[in-house]
Symmetry: C2
Subunit: 109 residues, 2 copies
């Protein structure tokens, strides 16, 4: 059986007009994906309200994540992670304008 493998920092699209989602592992109850942002943010007033838990790691770049009920924006640098329980509303306030931001997201539940 061939082992699946790769590198999150390889082939990172720079300057793409939309965020790019790349599934890395999918099975019932679990999805692991890479997300690349190039300065994108959630539209004003838009909140993610996910039915699954999400565990997110910032691998490269930087971002501000706004979580409903939290007093301040979570400013994330490489290595920063955050566990977003299901239905905890959140939005991307900003992502790095100068370089691609690479996320790892684990969706579970």
């Amino acid at each position: 059986m061939t082992l699946s493998h790769g590198n999150l920092l390889a082939d990172v699209p720079a300057g793409a007009p939309e965020e790019i989602f790349t599934p890395l592992l999918e099975r019932p109850g679990l999805k692991i994906e890479r997300i690349v942002s190039n300065g994108q943010a959630s539209p004003a007033g838009f909140w993610y309200d996910a039915p699954q838990d999400e565990w997110v790691l910032l691998v490269a770049g930087s971002a501000g994540l706004e979580v409903e009920g939290d007093a301040s924006i979570h400013v994330m640098h490489p290595g920063a992670w955050l566990h977003l329980p299901a239905h905890r509303r959140h939005r991307v306030a900003w992502t790095d304008a100068a370089q691609p931001t690479v996320w790892l997201a684990v969706h579970a539940g």
Copy 2:
């Protein structure tokens, strides 16, 4: 509800005599943990044989991962990831001797 968060690259123990495992999220069927290696390798002849799938990301440092049935060792640098299906035997051939190696491991199933 307090959001759990942290940084994989913060408080990285350097020169620890053993590998250090830090659970970040645990729920039925899922465990996410940080592993820090400081030059450790699996003992000669030892193979991990896990009942769960493991998805592993190298965040910092470097390592060589030996997977049974693969012709060569997987040399991993930051950003490199590997999906190890359950019972696919593997061992850590080496980890960086000059700096801590930080892994993110997702165990599922």
